[in-house]
């Protein structure tokens, strides 16, 4: 330390946040050790953000797959309560998210609206958990002596490339319907505005969402989209960005194991961005047949 400089006790030194990724309920840095420096509107560096690699994605898929059995087996009521709890915790950390959104370039008013809407969106989907089955299932009147019914079942592991803009409401809007329906997911957060995705991971971690149900990576879509769409143990992929060529490649890659591909584009602030059909998108319809015995029925001998 040079002699000429005198220490002034004007201001406490701020603890800077280390932004990590979220895999299997843990917060590792990327295995690759790489990082990138997104900038705010004034050109300041937002942080050393993990530039996730395909191996991070692979690890996240393993976590999502192993969480899938337990999560899909939860009762719908329980999933509903967990999503509600997620909303509760987000409510408690409103200030932090508003602050981060502002750092990422949002106005105060818009940031507040984005956080409020994100909380409300979680509450909205929390309520659907134990209702969409009743809307989308059916008993089918077949013309033979069988009881035949169709129910929704979660597809399994869903890879999500979250919206680039609207880094919180967009993120919440694509995650909530997926996990409300009993799927687990690996999400690539907004590349340019990654702060609140990582903070949202902390919200998830302090709620009752089991580890591995939601996994959040930060990084570059161009680098990762190919891996997201070609991984053979991913059942579906949601693409929420605007690059048509990227979407096309995703569709081509997805064909290899018949991943279901969804292109979700919306004004995420609008209530039109939320509906149970988004839950339905990530459901397979399973139809079951069983004989109906007719002994003792009208006019039947046996």
């Amino acid at each position: 330390m040079s002699k000429g400089v005198k220490y002034k006790n004007e201001k406490r030194l701020e603890i800077l946040k280390t932004y990590k990724i979220y895999i299997g309920g843990k917060f590792p840095r990327t295995e690759s050790g790489r990082y990138y420096n997104p900038l705010d509107s004034k050109g300041n560096i937002l942080g050393n953000i993990c530039l996730s690699s395909r191996k991070d994605f692979r690890n996240a898929v393993v976590a999502a797959r192993s969480a899938s059995v337990g999560w899909s087996a939860r009762t719908a009521f329980n999933r509903s309560q967990i999503l509600y709890r997620l909303g509760e915790i987000l409510e408690g950390r409103r200030a932090q998210f508003i602050e981060e959104l502002k750092i990422q370039g949002s106005t105060s008013a818009k940031a507040e609206k984005e956080v409020n809407n994100s909380i409300d969106r979680l509450i909205y989907y929390a309520g659907w958990c134990d209702k969409y089955q009743q809307i989308f299932s059916s008993v089918n009147p077949v013309s033979s002596s069988y009881y035949n019914f169709s129910v929704c079942e979660p597809m399994g592991v869903v890879a999500i490339i979250a919206p680039e803009e609207n880094s919180l409401i967009g993120l919440v809007s694509v995650i909530a319907p997926v996990v409300a329906g009993g799927n687990t997911c690996v999400v690539l957060a907004s590349e340019s505005k990654p702060l609140c995705s990582v903070t949202f991971a902390e919200v998830i971690n302090s709620s009752d969402v089991p580890g591995g149900v939601i996994n959040i990576l930060t990084g570059n879509a161009k680098e990762l989209a190919g891996h997201f769409s070609s991984h053979m143990d991913v059942n579906a992929i949601i693409y929420s960005r605007t690059d048509k060529e990227e979407l096309k490649n995703i569709q081509i890659n997805a064909s290899e194991n018949m991943k279901r591909v969804f292109y979700w584009k919306s004004d995420w602030f609008s209530v039109k961005a939320q509906n149970p059909y988004k839950i339905r998108d990530l459901q397979e319809i399973k139809t079951t047949w069983h004989p109906i015995e007719q002994i003792g029925g009208a006019g039947s001998g046996y």
Binding site: S145, Y146, P291, I292, E293, Q294, I295, G296, G301, Y302
Partner: protein, 308 residues
């Protein structure tokens, strides 16, 4: 359910655990039999076989010696204008009329079957049933058609039902014992299967669906379940048991479908009146009409076939 053959001794299974039956699947299997198309030579041979398997039956309170004599004549002379017809397999009467039938059928191969064991309800003590059966045998019956105690069966008293059949079998010696399950009172195919297994293990030579006094009487699904029970019993013990659907089979086409079912479930070995019978009264004339039609090309009228 397992039957273990050990030094020729058949271990009696726990009848509470007899195989389960799915009714809808059974009916679908039956529909495959009824969709078999039986044409030309197969039809003629089949119809002739049906005639030879009939137990011509009268079991009325109003039965008289005269009625039984007429029926026995019909048994011997089904339709004399058509040469080469077989006779029926047997006539089936009440014990009190066995001696009449026996006398009428002297010199033929036609058997006399007698119902017994307080037919049709069977609601008497075992010793009465034994006496009833003994009387029929003493009168000369070649075959005895007994009824099981359905009440005891429904109560779950399978040992009683078993012992009763075994007691009757015990006095039968060379007389062939047909055990009537009265399936119309059993109420479920699982129970038909269970009653079949009890009867066979207790010594039945034949298992038979019905008395003819209760509806439904014989049906294809019930008969299929009994045939499958016979097949499984044979598979395990090597013992052949006969099958007799009775009641409700009055036309040729239906009778031929029964034969198809016997052929496909049990095989050709059972396609003889030693192992398969129809308990019927009006079936014979319908079969005769079809045979005459096949030979003449003309559809027939009832007026040309004797009613006895």
């Amino acid at each position: 359910m397992t039957t273990i053959i050990n030094n020729n001794e058949i271990i009696i299974p726990d009848f509470r655990n007899t195989p389960l039956i799915d009714q809808v699947g059974t009916e679908e299997r039956v529909s495959r039999f009824t969709k078999r198309s039986i044409k030309n030579e197969a039809k003629e041979a089949g119809l002739s076989m049906v005639l030879s398997m009939i137990d011509l039956t009268t079991l009325e309170g109003a039965d008289t010696q005269g009625k039984v004599k007429q029926m026995c004549y019909k048994a011997r002379h089904l339709h004399d204008s058509v040469p080469g017809l077989p006779t029926v397999a047997a006539v089936c009467v009440y014990p009190s009329l066995v001696s009449v039938a026996k006398k009428e059928l002297i010199g033929t191969d036609i058997k006399v079957a007698s119902v017994a064991t307080a037919f049709p309800a069977g609601q008497t003590p075992l010793k009465v049933k034994i006496a009833d059966t003994q009387f029929a045998i003493d009168q000369g019956a070649d075959e005895v058609d007994m009824v099981i105690s359905r009440g005891r069966f429904h109560s779950g008293d399978y040992n009683y039902v078993f012992d009763e059949i075994a007691s009757i079998k015990n006095i039968c010696n060379d007389v062939r014992l047909k055990v009537i399950l009265e399936t119309g009172e059993l109420g479920a195919l699982d129970k038909v299967r269970r009653a079949s297994d009890i009867a066979m293990h207790a010594g039945a030579d034949f298992i038979k669906t019905s008395t003819g006094k209760i509806k439904p009487a014989a049906t294809l699904p019930v008969t299929l379940i009994m045939l499958e029970a016979i097949r499984d019993y044979h598979e395990k013990t090597g013992i052949m048991v006969g099958m007799k659907p009775a009641g409700g089979i009055s036309n040729s086409k239906l009778a031929l479908h029964y034969l198809i079912m016997v052929k496909e479930v049990l095989g050709d070995a059972w396609l003889t009146n030693r192992w398969f019978r129809f308990g019927a009264s009006s079936l014979a004339n319908d079969v005769l009409k079809q045979i005459v039609k096949l030979r003449t090309g003309r559809y027939q009228s009832n007026d040309y076939f004797s009613i006895d």
